[in-house]
């Protein structure tokens, strides 16, 4: 059957997402909320996350065009962004958010801009990986969620 190789590939994709620190325990929490009646819960949440967070990123981008920076506002936006990222287990993205907030708190404009660029990179990378993962999951059939990476 073709599904087995796909499932193996899916499992290995999943494992590397965790091993490489893209995702943390919180995503496993979300997976545990999936069942036959809600088989796509994780994908739904992640889709919602990317929709919502895109808006926040845009807000930040616009705020970074206004000089001097309103660090409070920037920190506010990033607080929201970090919260959502944390809720889906986006570990690296969350770490970059923290960096950005540190620079906000110390009023470091250069640092903010650097951190934001880095954050956007991680954000985009995770998005691509998750899209590939969910696509494969759909092809492979019902997901094997019992295996924990560690």
């Amino acid at each position: 059957m073709e599904r087995n190789p796909m499932r193996r590939q899916l499992a290995s994709m999943r494992k590397s997402l965790f091993d490489q620190g893209y995702l943390d325990e919180q995503l496993i929490q979300l997976e545990e909320l999936q069942d036959d009646a809600n088989p796509n819960f994780v994908e739904e949440v992640v889709t919602l996350y990317y929709r919502d967070s895109a808006r926040i990123i845009l807000n930040i981008e616009q705020a970074l065009e206004r000089k001097p920076f309103d660090f409070n506002k920037l920190d506010d936006y990033m607080h929201q962004f970090k919260g959502s990222s944390s809720s889906i287990g986006a570990k690296k993205v969350k770490a970059e958010s923290t960096m950005f907030r540190e620079y906000c708190k110390s009023g470091n404009a250069e640092g903010c801009m650097r951190a934001f660029q880095q954050l956007k990179k991680e954000y985009a990378t995770l998005k691509k990986k998750l899209e590939a993962y969910f696509q494969l999951a759909r092809q492979a059939g019902p997901m094997e969620t019992a295996c924990r990476p560690k």
Binding site: Q26, Q29, L30, E32, L33, D35, N38, F41, E44, V45, L48, Y49, D52, H79, Q80, K82, G83, S84, S86, S87, I88, G89
Partner: protein, 235 residues
């Protein structure tokens, strides 16, 4: 899973009870009002609660929460309509009205102050936690919220809620037809799946799990919320 046990237990007590609750609360399920401005978090908390056998109403602001409760207009709800809220779980940081402000409004209301309120926050500032608990919050959950957090809240809240419903009924009916006293029902609860202590302490005993005494001294005797805050987490 213990949630099934909780559900069964509640049904059992409703049968023991001589009052007909079917008119006032349309189901045995615990009804939770969840408040969070983040769409992602609302979706997650809603799912966490549903999977824990709770009915959920999720709103995106303190304002809407008050409206839902009927506190915004001067509608005096006696708590016995079909939309009775058994627990309010709210995010702390929200634009407009914070979770803390919402908490205060609820505790200031004679109709709703008995409803347990749980605060969620990603920022585990001890002063903030203390402030919320002092204002009457039942518990404080560190975000991101996990299934075990919801389960814990629900387990002790069911006991609290049952006790209070009995108290309310007693007040309302103005008679003491209740042959079974609330404390004994509560303490004979088979829900000891959590390591909950003091089943006979009814409202406002947020401290549940035996705590490792790592929390710095706080005015309230609550170690468990801070312990759960994962302050030493790898975050």
């Amino acid at each position: 899973m213990a949630r099934n046990g909780a559900h069964t237990w509640r049904r059992r007590t409703d049968r023991i009870d001589s009052f007909d609750l079917s008119a006032s609360s349309d189901t045995d399920e615990v009804h939770v009002l969840a408040v969070d401005d983040s769409h992602v978090d609302r979706k997650v908390i809603e799912r966490l609660l549903r999977i824990s056998s709770c009915k959920v109403t999720a709103v995106d602001s303190g304002r809407r929460a008050l409206q839902f409760l009927g506190l915004d207009e001067e509608k005096q709800s006696n708590g016995f309509d079909g939309l009775k809220v058994d627990l309010i779980i709210t995010d702390y940081c929200m634009p407009g009205m914070t979770g803390y402000e919402l908490l205060k409004k609820i505790k200031e209301s004679s109709a709703f102050r008995e409803i347990p309120v749980v605060i969620m926050s990603s920022e585990n500032v001890l002063a903030r936690i203390d402030r919320c608990l002092e204002e009457g919050a039942e518990d404080f959950i560190a975000k991101p919220v996990k299934l075990s957090d919801v389960k814990r809240i629900k387990d002790y809240m069911v006991r609290v809620g049952e006790g209070e419903r009995r108290l309310n009924k007693r007040k309302l009916r103005d008679s003491c037809d209740l042959s079974s006293s609330p404390p004994s029902i509560l303490s004979s609860s088979p829900i000891s799946s959590t390591s909950s202590s003091s089943p006979s302490s009814i409202p406002r005993s947020p401290s549940i799990l035996p705590a490792t005494a790592t929390a710095p001294s706080s005015p309230s005797s609550l170690d468990s919320p801070t312990r759960r805050l994962k302050m030493t987490s790898s975050e």
